[in-house]
């Protein structure tokens, strides 16, 4: 399906080309509505708008400088209770599309009547950087993304190697396209039908795009490998880890903004961890003190055990942390390693079953503790020593 695409003229830049294309699709009733980031009235942020009125596209952007809300959350809100009757096109970043795919597997979204449309992604700015001066931030983003310079972007955007076409229905390829044009690439039969309805023949070769994407992917993979090696050394063991989380105030922002964390009531806020005072005093007595509220480390490691298999390393958690803890960096490291254990890549395909739902009879033997023979162990050895000493 990735063999051919269409060429979309983009003399005035990617943004206006894509918006124009979407306007056309709306007016031709190829879609009933769009879900797209739109600048808020005060001009200091972007919010996802579900719209059918093309006039609202005036302040819309397919590639805004920030990701205040992870798009998969918006998609999930819309479709968690089922498929709508309207055909909606959601214009999202690749990581948002991947999270939407994970949420669909987790039955928190339904994609039958929703088209995922993605764009080659240079990353987004950290939200706090942008909020300091939104106008300057937007300019900085525009300039850097033009050159594919990821230096001003979120730390996990800087090491992202999933910046191009995920399993979306349509993808706008901006890498490797001729000057003043972009590629429109179908990723599914649903996507192909849209291009047919829009009269876009699939006659453009995608070799240049594919080559450029591959080249960038390799650079990014190496950056990721290096960053993760450095990070792992820095957070190793109780000392390293508790240093990183030493300023955590248990606000749980990271959990709340995470697209994959969908539980209405998080286990770590439930009655299971609300204990009588004797419990807290006993623990405080045993350790000399008890951080309050307790269970900070349990929250982070426990939350990791609940969601890293579906973590798409989008970085929204780190943006939301008021104490500037590198949560996304830590979690993207944990996610890569855990997903690797199961040969799983979050958001790669709807067909990949969730690792904790599927299993093989013959796998993961490295986790089993081998039992070779009857254990005599230290006890016997000590007895023998006693006999010897006597």
């Amino acid at each position: 399906m990735n063999n051919k695409g269409a060429i979309l003229p983009a003399e005035d830049g990617v943004e206006s080309a894509v918006i124009g294309w979407l306007k056309e699709a709306l007016s031709k009733k190829v879609f009933d509505a769009l879900l797209i980031p739109v600048e808020v009235p005060a001009g200091d942020s972007f919010a996802y708008l579900l719209l059918r009125n093309p006039a609202l596209l005036e302040n819309a952007s397919p590639l805004p400088p920030v990701m205040p809300v992870q798009g998969a959350k918006a998609i999930s809100r819309l479709t968690m209770r089922g498929n709508g009757s309207k055909r909606v096109a959601a214009i999202v970043r690749p990581c948002e599309a991947r999270a939407a795919i994970e949420l669909t597997k987790l039955e928190q979204a339904h994609l039958d009547n929703l088209w995922l449309i993605t764009v080659d992604c240079p990353g987004v700015l950290p939200l706090s950087d942008y909020l300091e001066d939104p106008v300057a931030g937007a300019a900085r983003f525009a300039e850097a993304s033009q050159r594919w310079d990821r230096a001003p972007m979120r730390p996990v955007c800087q090491i992202c190697h999933h910046f191009s076409m995920p399993a979306s229905d349509l993808h706008i390829g901006t890498l490797g396209s001729a000057e003043g044009t972009v590629f429109v690439i179908p990723g599914s039969p649903k996507g192909e039908r849209v291009m047919e309805n829009l009269g876009m023949p699939l006659d453009a070769a995608l070799d240049d795009w594919a080559a450029r994407v591959k080249e960038m992917e390799e650079v990014q993979r190496e950056r990721r490998r290096q960053a993760h090696t450095d990070l792992k050394a820095g957070i190793a063991g109780p000392d390293g880890l508790l240093d990183v989380f030493s300023s955590c105030i248990n606000c749980h922002n990271c959990q709340r903004v995470c697209p994959v964390c969908y539980c209405r009531q998080c286990y770590f806020e439930s009655a299971a961890l609300k204990l009588p005072p004797e419990n807290y005093l006993a623990r405080a007595g045993r350790k000399g003190a008890l951080r309050f509220p307790p269970d900070t480390l349990l929250f982070h490691i426990g939350r990791a055990s609940h969601m890293v298999l579906s973590c798409v390393s989008c970085g929204t958690c780190e943006d939301a942390c008021p104490m500037s803890i590198p949560v996304a960096q830590v979690f993207s490291l944990l996610a890569d390693r855990a997903q690797e254990t199961f040969g799983y890549v979050a958001g790669r395909s709807l067909e990949d079953p969730l690792p904790l739902v599927a299993y093989e009879m013959d796998e993961l033997h490295q986790v089993e503790q081998p039992y070779v023979e009857t254990y005599h162990g230290l006890q016997i050895a000590d007895c023998e020593q006693e006999v010897q000493d006597a």
Binding site: G237, K287, G288, A289, I301, A338, P355, M361, V367, Q369
Partner: protein, 143 residues
């Protein structure tokens, strides 16, 4: 005697209600002994064991967590032990990435009639944890 004998590990031995606990009962029937500081913790099936129940003891005071359930193919609920194996793999991956001694978590199958294997696991794990020493996480008050 030696220093290592002063450290008595606090160990949680998670057992399923069928084979795991059964192994314990068979051991008792044969008058086999295992260290008193190994505390059994019974779950209905290892497949029902949440990942948090492996992590929480390691933070709050346990030096080691061992998990025993039915052999593959023998799970009373058909595939609980396969799911458990995946969850244990997930927890071990996280602990390993964070350098938090995943070797403090053991996963070994013990059948209903395997009394010897049950006490061997408890004893071997106890000795293993004695060698590793106390869990550094359990004395941290800032967890």
């Amino acid at each position: 005697m030696s220093d290592k004998q002063e450290f008595e590990p606090r160990i949680i031995y998670i057992l399923c209600s069928w084979c795991g606990s059964g192994g314990g009962e068979t051991a008792a029937a044969h008058h086999l002994h295992y260290p008193e500081n190994v505390r059994p913790y019974r779950v209905n099936c290892t497949g029902a064991l949440p990942t948090v129940h492996i992590i929480r003891p390691l933070i709050e005071g346990a030096d080691g967590v061992a998990i025993s359930g039915c052999h593959p193919g023998d799970c009373h609920y058909n595939d609980g032990n396969f799911r458990a194996r995946r969850r244990v793999a997930l927890v071990k991956s996280i602990l390993d990435t964070l350098d938090l001694e995943p070797e403090r978590v053991w996963f070994r199958y013990v059948a209903h009639g395997e009394g010897r294997r049950f006490v061997d696991t408890a004893t071997e794990f106890n000795d293993h944890i004695k060698k590793l020493g106390p869990n550094p996480l359990k004395t941290r008050s800032d967890t």
